[in-house]
Amino acid sequence: MRVNVTVNGEQRQADDVWEGESLLFVLRERLGLPGSKNACEQGECGSCTVYLDNVPVCACLVAAGQVQDREVRTVEGLADGDRLDPVQEAFVEAGAVQCGFCTPGLVVQAHDLLDRVPNPSDPEIREALAGNLCRCTGYEKILDAVRLAASRR
C-alpha cells in the first residue's frame, strides 16, 4: 500500500508498504529516519517514542496504515537547524547520554512533559518517564537533564 504522512513538517510518501509494517519500520527503513529506536518493538521500552498528532506514542505499536494523512514528529524534528532543543542540549550537558539508544525516546517524552508541565516535580518527572527504559545511567542524570531543561525553558 501507499502511505501519505506529514513527518517533521514535510509531506512524505512511502510506497510498497506491507500492511503488517509498523510506523517505526516505515520511519526507519522507508523514510530514512532511523532516529526513533527499535529496542523492544512491543511497547515496553519507549525508545521509539514519537509525536503522532502531538501526542507521544510508541511508533512500534502504530500500524503504518494508521498514520495516513496524519502528522508525525520524530526526534529528528526537534532541533531548529543547528540549534538543539533545550531538552536535547540538557541531555548532553548533564551526562544523561551514554550509549544513547534510549535517548531519542526519552528526549521526545521529556519534551512533551515540559510542554505540558513547565516546572515538574521529581515524582512528576519519574511518572512521565516511567515508560522509557535506560540501561546505562540509572536515570539520575536523566532527571538532572530534565530539571536543567525545565530551568531553561
Partner: protein, 728 residues
C-alpha cells in the same frame, strides 16, 4: 616522578580531570548517530536465523525445499554452507556457527535465510522443515558433572581450587549458608545487528556493534575460511553491551549470507531473539562457611561454588577464576579453601556480564558477613571493618594488594551519609507506587551495607594490550590531532576519555576520534573495566612519541606527525592448578553501598528508597562519566537484587521479553549519592582504577541486606521475589 591526581589536572580546556561533553552527544540527542541497526545499503537484503525450539535434541533431517521456493528469498544456508571452521568461542572453540547434528540449547542457530524483506525471511523460515530426536536436557549445575556428557571432554568446563593456610583450623563462631544467584541478562537496548557488504574480490566488510573488533574478526575469518585481511570490521553505533557483546551473535551469519548472495545483508534481532542471541550472567549455587573468633576476626572461609555455563563455554573459565580468586571478598583471611566449578548444561549459554564472577561470589560472601555480624552481635559495618583489606593485604591467591584498598574508608563514607526521611505518605514514594496498594500499612524499613572487590583488566597471564595511533597536523593554522584505535566505544565514553588524554598530553585542544576499525592493531576488549586503563595507556604512550617529534613546535607546516604504538599493563601469572596461588590480577577495584528499602510485607513489594555508593577510582579522568558509571552499575545491581532473572524450565526460557524480564525503570531507581575517592595507583596511567564493574557487585547484597533488616527473613536467593517475602 609520580604526580598526584590534583597535579595531573590539565591546563588545556577539556583535558583530564574535567568533564567535557562527549563528541557523539549531539548526534545521539538528534537521532542522527548511526547504530548498527540503523545501517542501510543500496540493494541490501535482510537476514534471519532459524533457531532450535529444544534445549537438547539430535537433528534428524533438515529440508529447505519449500523455503527456497518463497518469492523474494535469495538464500537458505545451513552448516554445509560454512566454508571454514564451523566452531568458534572465546576460550574454547566449542560452539557451532550453525548446528550440525545436535542442538544443545533452546535458540541455537540451525539455518539462515536471506530475503528482500524481514517478513519474507520470517515466512521462508517457517517453511524450513527440521525433524528432531528430542533428548532429556541436563539442567542442574550441581549434578551436571556426572550427568550425560554434552561435549567430548565431559561437562566440567573448569575447576579452580584455592588453598591457603590451614585447611582444618577451627573457629569460635561459625556461620554457614547456601546461596543462589539467578540468570541475569545484560539487556542492552540496542539489539544485535549489523550490515555485511561483500566485495568483488571475495572479501567482506562488516559494520557491527561489538566489544572487541579483532577477536570478532579472527573468529569470522576462520569460519569463512578467509585470510584475516579479507575480513574488515568497522564499529558502528553500539547500544550498550555490559558483556553481552563479547561473544559472536550474527557476525558470521551476516557475512555468510553476503558472500553467498553477493548482496549487502542486514541482520537485526528483535528483543525475543536477543534473549536467545547472547550469553547471560552465570546463575550460581554457592556454599559458604565462615569461621571467626569472638572479636569478629575471620579465622577461615571455605566455599564451594557452582556456575552454570550453559551449552557452550564462552568465557566460563575466566568467570570461574574470578569467582574463586575474589571469593572471600575484600577481607583479610589467613585460611582459605575454595573450589569453584564451571559446568556445561543445556541451559542458555552464559558468559560475560558486568562484574564477571565477582557478582555471584559477592552476593554470597556479603550475605555471610551479615550472618556473622548477627551471630557475634556486631553491626554489619563493624564486622566488615574488623576484617577489611588494606594496601599490603594478601589475597587468597597469595597476591599482595600493592595499591590503595580503602575498604574501611568506603564503608564509613556510606555509613556517614545522611539517612533519607522516614517512610513517605505520598503513595508515589511507597512500594507499589500509583498502583495504590498501600498507604503505609504493612510497610517496614531496613538499612543494609555491602562492599565488593573486582579485578581490573585481563588476568592469569593473558597478554593484554592495546594499540593507539595519534596523528598531528596543521588545520587552519593550528595544531590539530586525531586519535585512532580499535577499542570499542559502547556508550561508556571512551571517545571522550581519548580526546581528554590527547589534550592533556599534547596541549592540543582540537582532537578528532577516528572510526574504530581493524585497519589498526588490536585494541583489546571493552570489558574487565579495562579500556581507560589499557587503551588510555596506549593513547598516552602514542602521545609521548608525537611529543618527541613535535619538539616544542606549534607550527609544523605541511608535516604530518603520525605515531602508532602498543601499550600493555604489567604482566600477570597463571594460577597454580593445585593451590590456586599466583599473582593473577593486575589491579583491584573497590566499592561500597548503603541501601535503604521500604518493604510492603503483605504484598512482598520492595521500594529502594536510597542507594548510596562510595568508590575509589584512582583518578577521575572524567568525573561526570565516572559518576554515570557508578550510578548505572548500581542500577544493574538493583535489578539483580529485586527483579531481573531469565527464568528457565527444563532448559527453556520462560520470559524472553521486556514484558516478562523486568529491568529497573525510573520509578524503581532511588536517588543515588556518590562519593568518589581518588587514591592513585602508581602502576596505572594517571593512577586510574577501572570504574565500570565494582558498583555492580556491592549494590545487590546491600539491597538484600536492607530487605533482611526490614523483614527478618533469611533471603538466600537473588532476585528476591514477592513470594520470598510473603511466604506464599
Amino acid at each position: 616522578m609520580t604526580l598526584t591526581p590534583a597535579e595531573l589536572t590539565s591546563a588545556v580546556s577539556g583535558g583530564i580531570g574535567t568533564s567535557p561533553q562527549r563528541p557523539d552527544g549531539n548526534l545521539k540527542v538528534r537521532g542522527e548517530f548511526a547504530y548498527s541497526s540503523d545501517l542501510w545499503h543500496e540493494d541490501m537484503i535482510w537476514g534471519a536465523t532459524l533457531r532450535s525450539p529444544h534445549p537438547y535434541a539430535r537433528i534428524t533431517s533438515v529440508d529447505l525445499t519449500e523455503a527456497l521456493k518463497v518469492p523474494g528469498v535469495y538464500a537458505v544456508l545451513t552448516h554445509q554452507d560454512v566454508p571454514g571452521r564451523n566452531l568458534y568461542g572465546l576460550e574454547h572453540k566449542d560452539q557451532p556457527v550453525l548446528a550440525v547434528d545436535v542442538v544443545r540449547y533452546q535458540g541455537e542457530p540451525i539455518a539462515l535465510v536471506g530475503a528482500d524483506h524481514p517478513e519474507t525471511a520470517q515466512r521462508a523460515m517457517k517453511k524450513i522443515v527440521v525433524t528432531y530426536d528430542v533428548l532429556e536436557p541436563v539442567v542442574d549445575m550441581e549434578t551436571a558433572a556426572d550427568d550425560t556428557p554434552l561435549h567430548p571432554g565431559g561437562n566440567l568446563v573448569r575447576h579452580v581450587p584455592i588453598r591457603r593456610g590451614s585447611q582444618d583450623v577451627e573457629a569460635e563462631v561459625v556461620v554457614t549458608g547456601r546461596y543462589e544467584v539467578g540468570m541475569q541478562d545484560q539487556a542492552f537496548l540496542g539489539p544485535e545487528s549489523g550490515l555485511a557488504v561483500p566485495a568483488e574480490d571475495g572479501s567482506v566488510d562488516l559494520y557491527i556493534a561489538t566489544q572487541w573488533l579483532h577477536v570478532d574478526r579472527d573468529q569470522i575469518a576462520a569460519a569463512l575460511g578467509l585470510p584475516q585481511e579479507q575480513v574488515r570490521l568497522t564499529l558502528s553505533g553500539v547500544g550498550g553491551a555490559f558483556g553481552g557483546r563479547e561473544d559472536l551473535s550474527m557476525q558470521v551469519h551476516a557475512c555468510l549470507l553476503a558472500l553467498h548472495t553477493g548482496k549487502p545483508v542486514k541482520m537485526v534481532y528483535n528483543r525475543e531473539e536477543s534473549f536467545y542471541g547472547h550469553v547471560h550472567r552465570h546463575p550460581a549455587v554457592l556454599y559458604y562457611e565462615h569461621g571467626a573468633d569472638h572479636t569478629g576476626k575471620l579465622v577461615y572461609v571455605r566455599t564451594r561454588m557452582y556456575l552454570d555455563g550453559g551449552a557452550y563455554a564462552s568465557s566460563t573459565p575466566a568467570v570461574v577464576a574470578n569467582a574463586a580468586t575474589l571469593g572471600v571478598g575484600p577481607y583479610e583471611v589467613d585460611n582459605v579453601t575454595i573450589d569453584a566449578y564451571g559446568l556445561y548444561t543445556n541451559n542458555p549459554p552464559c558468559g560475560a556480564m558486568r562484574g564477571f564472577g565477582a557478582v555471584q561470589a559477592g552476593f554470597a560472601y556479603e550475605s555471610q558477613m551479615d550472618k556473622l555480624a548477627e551471630a557475634l552481635g556486631m553491626s554489619p559495618v563493624d564486622v566488615r571493618v574488623r576484617n577489611a583489606m588494606t594496601e599490603g593485604s594478601v589475597m587468597p591467591t597469595g597476591q599482595v594488594v600493592d595499591s590503595a584498598a580503602p575498604v574501611a574508608q568506603l564503608l564509613k563514607l556510606v555509613q556517614d551519609k545522611p539517612l533519607p526521611a522516614g517512610t513517605s505518605s505520598d503513595i508515589r514514594e511507597l512500594p507499589g507506587g500509583v498502583s495504590n496498594t498501600t498507604h503505609g500499612e504493612g510497610v517496614v524499613r531496613g538499612v543494609g551495607f555491602a562492599v565488593g572487590i573486582k579485578n581490573i583488566c585481563f588476568s592469569e597471564g593473558y597478554d593484554d594490550y592495546s594499540t593507539a595511533r595519534v596523528r598531528v597536523s596543521m588545520v587552519n593554522g593550528e595544531l590539530a590531532a586525531a586519535v585512532h584505535t580499535a577499542a570499542c566505544e559502547v556508550g561508556q565514553g571512551l571517545v571522550t576519555i581519548m580526546q581528554q588524554i590527547v589534550r592533556t598530553e599534547l596541549g592540543i585542544e582540537r582532537v578528532t576520534v577516528l572510526p574504530m576499525d581493524t585497519t589498526i592493531g588490536n585494541g583489546g576488549s571493552t570489558s574487565a573495566s579495562r579500556q581507560t586503563y589499557v587503551t588510555g595507556g596506549a593513547v598516552k604512550a602514542a602521545c609521548a612519541l608525537v611529543l618527541d617529534r613535535l619538539a616544542g613546535r606549534t607550527d609544523i607546516g605541511d608535516e604530518i606527525i603520525d605515531e602508532t604504538t602498543e601499550w600493555r599493563h604489567r604482566a600477570t601469572e597463571a594460577l597454580d592448578p593445585e593451590t590456586g596461588q599466583g599473582n593473577a590480577h593486575v589491579q583491584y577495584g573497590f566499592a561500597a553501598h548503603r541501601a535503604v528499602v521500604d518493604v510492603d510485607v503483605d504484598l512482598g513489594l520492595v521500594r529502594v528508597v536510597s542507594l548510596d555508593c562510595a568508590q575509589d577510582v584512582g583518578k577521575a579522568l572524567n568525573p561526570q562519566a565516572v559518576v554515570g558509571q557508578i550510578q548505572g552499575g548500581s542500577a544493574q545491581g538493583l535489578g539483580l537484587a529485586v527483579m531481573e532473572e531469565i527464568q528457565t524450565s527444563g532448559g527453556k526460557v520462560r520470559n524472553p521479553s521486556f514484558t516478562d524480564y523486568l529491568i529497573p525503570t525510573v520509578l524503581d531507581m532511588p536517588p543515588m549519592s556518590i562519593d568518589v575517592l581518588e587514591l592513585a595507583d602508581p602502576h596505572a596511567p594517571y593512577g586510574i582504577r577501572g570504574v565500570g564493574e565494582p558498583p555492580t557487585i556491592s549494590s545487590t547484597p546491600a539491597i538484600v541486606a536492607a530487605i533482611r533488616a526490614a523483614t527478618g527473613l533469611a533471603l538466600t536467593r537473588v532476585p528476591v521475589r514477592p513470594e520470598h517475602l510473603t511466604g506464599t
